[in-house]
């Protein structure tokens, strides 16, 4: 108090002094509206140590309207009874706990013992694959290497370059991957053998994948919370979709941010490419282009 009086000389009324002081110390929060609909709130306050702190918050207000039965709303306000009487609102940890997450998806033709945590399509695929023991050389996924969605973007495991890479180097790499030093005794895939001249041509066999490529779109900037079904829904509007692949992180199960969508018809694909490119999905804007053929 004495200090205040010293700071502002000429004041004699201590009560007035005090209020004046408060007013100068803490100005009311300033709220300014920004053009993009957000608000900036600047608050000045005293923190625990008595220091002046200026806090700038930028917020966006969203109104979530929820309809509720008035009876239900009334019951929510009831005073608790019995052993709960007088306890604050909200679940008490001694009576209420959260269980572990259960993924429950209704499936046609459910059979006991079947793993429930899978979509029906995945299940069918997985079952087929169980019999065949397939492992992709590119991404180690459960599919043929030729069907790998990353075949355009990634080189096979253990190989540095793509198909056009130097043959000798490739052979070294495969030898390294096999874990043995001597090159002669190790298996070298036919397309990498020295004898197979012009192996580049034999690299990607099967014309059907070429056709596939023609009507395949590469979708990038996909929200990591996206699901294949969401994408399918978006793309199915523009024609018959034969395949949707959404790259997912194997550990977290979240989308990696890109996907491939194949159409049965190329004209549909080009239309979809035009329409969906720039489409807002989740909080991101999709980028759609034709998948580039592997070089």
């Amino acid at each position: 108090m004495a200090a205040n009086v010293q700071n502002i000389p000429g004041r004699t009324d201590w009560a007035e002094d005090d209020t004046e002081d408060l007013a100068t110390a803490i100005p009311p929060p300033q709220i300014t509206k920004n053009k993009d609909g957000t608000e900036t709130i600047i608050t000045v306050f005293l923190n625990e140590d008595g220091k002046r702190v200026k806090r700038t918050q930028r917020i966006r207000r969203t109104v979530v309207k929820k309809k509720e039965n008035p009876r239900v709303a009334e019951r929510r306000q009831w005073a608790k009874i019995g052993p709960e009487a007088g306890k604050p609102a909200g679940p008490r940890p001694d009576t209420t706990t959260l269980g572990e997450n259960i993924i429950f998806r209704p499936v046609m033709g459910y059979k006991s013992g079947q793993v429930q945590e899978k979509a029906p399509e995945e299940d069918r695929k997985a079952e087929q694959l169980k019999k065949m023991q397939i492992k992709c050389r590119i991404c180690s996924g459960d599919h043929f290497t030729t069907k790998c969605p990353f075949k355009d973007t990634m080189a096979p495991e253990g190989a540095e370059g793509g198909a056009a890479a130097d043959l000798g180097e490739d052979a070294d790499d495969t030898a390294g991957a096999a874990g043995a030093g001597a090159g002669g005794s190790n298996y070298v895939p036919p397309h990498l053998r020295k004898g197979a001249a012009g192996a580049g041509g034999g690299e990607r066999m099967g014309g059907k994948y070429e056709r596939d490529d023609l009507a395949t779109l590469r979708v990038t900037n996909v929200s990591e919370f996206a699901e294949e079904s969401d994408l399918r829904e978006i793309f199915e509007r523009h024609g018959r979709v034969t395949r949707v692949f959404l790259a997912k992180d194997r550990e977290t199960g979240r989308a990696k941010g890109f996907a491939f969508v194949s159409y049965a018809d190329r004209s549909d694909a080009s239309r979809a490419c035009e329409k969906v490119d720039g489409y807002g999905f989740g909080h991101l804007i999709l980028k759609v282009e034709f998948a580039k053929k592997a070089t």
């Binding site: 009876r71 239900v72 009831w78 608790k80 009576t95 706990t97 429950f104 998806r105 459910y110």
Partner: protein, 339 residues
């Protein structure tokens, strides 16, 4: 979905019921306590204390003002939900196995156990849906059931019939005005007790669960079996999900006395979901450590809960895949309707 586990009971759950709006949940167990919970977050609203024996049954009236409970202390009691005050107590010679309000909440039915030379009895009381009113002490209808022991009972649509399920697997239809036996059918295997009877939202049909490992959808007018759901374990309970979903939920598991000899997996302590029309199983939800004694679906269809022999109530709020799921034919029909 993340189930909410409610630990308000120390012994096996016997029945759980939702209020009409689905916001409150009532559970009774063999430990003499009635608990009320908010279904949205699992918060306990309170308990209703007074019973001196295991509780077998609970029901809430459609306005969520009155609660009826009955149990092994040979009493049927009426409570005010909001305050927890006991409003009325009816005493009997044997325990109350089942209590149920009629659709309009103006009648209450109580079923007594057949024991000690006593036959099963059905008592119907007129209820004034007001907490200050004096409830009548004498039943308006008293049926002495000459048939095998009544295990479950309820009022059909417009309180026209009383439907009972019996220990020998039979289902009987009684006139709710005169108490006359109209019909008796044997939908379940002989000697296999009917363990549960739950109504569709309009009470024109109901589902029965039985120890013969099946649940049946039965018309309340004709007692004709409409659908049969076959499970691989004795069933304790069955519930019908309201529109627009067409499922039934079955709960069961082997008898509590056999549980210790098998693993949880073999015990089949799962809630089973079947398609109501196609009678096909579509999924299971596990979680309980003992048989499911009761399953109940919220009347809004957004969540269901199960009470188990393990003393837990698990409340499950459904995820979108549950609502989106359609059979191929249903999908085609929807497409046809859109066009």
């Amino acid at each position: 979905m993340r189930p909410i586990l409610l630990q308000g009971h120390e012994r096996a759950l016997t029945q759980v019921k939702f209020s009409k709006e689905g916001d409150l949940l009532f559970s009774v167990s063999k430990d003499h306590v009635v608990c009320a919970w908010y279904s949205a977050n699992g918060e306990r609203f309170g308990t209703y204390k007074g019973h001196q024996g295991a509780l077998w049954t609970v029901d809430v009236d459609p306005t969520t003002t009155l609660l009826a409970t009955g149990g092994a202390d040979n009493t049927l009691r009426l409570w005010e939900i909001k305050t927890g005050k006991e409003l009325k107590r009816w005493e009997f010679n044997t325990s109350i196995r089942r209590a149920e309000f009629s659709e309009d909440g103006r009648q209450l039915l109580g079923v007594t156990e057949k024991r000690q030379g006593q036959l099963s009895n059905i008592f119907v009381y007129d209820i004034v849906p007001d907490v200050t009113a004096d409830q009548s002490t004498d039943p308006t209808l008293h049926i002495t059931v000459e048939l095998p022991r009544v295990t479950v009972a309820g009022f059909s649509a417009l309180s026209r019939y009383i439907i009972t399920g019996h220990e020998n697997g039979s289902v009987a239809q009684w006139d709710a005005k005169t108490g006359e036996l109209i019909k008796e059918e044997f939908p379940h295997e002989d000697g296999m007790s009917v363990t549960d009877l739950q109504w569709s939202s309009d009470r024109t049909y109901f589902i029965t669960a039985s120890k013969d490992k099946t649940a049946k959808l039965i018309d309340s007018e004709t007692l004709e079996v409409l659908k049969t759901y076959v499970a691989d374990t004795p069933l304790n309970s069955a519930a019908i999900t309201p529109e627009p979903t067409n499922y039934v939920i079955l709960g069961g598991g082997q008898a509590a006395m056999d549980v210790t000899t098998t693993s949880a997996r073999q015990g089949k302590f799962e809630a089973r979901f079947y398609h109501k029309i196609f009678e096909e199983e579509i999924g299971r939800v596990r979680g309980h450590f003992g048989p499911l004694n009761y399953v109940a679906v919220s009347p809004d269809g957004k969540c269901y809960c199960s009470g188990g022999e393990d003393g837990y109530v698990r409340v499950h709020h459904f995820d979108p895949p549950y609502f989106d799921f359609r059979f191929e034919v249903e999908r085609e029909r929807e497409r046809g309707l859109q066009m």
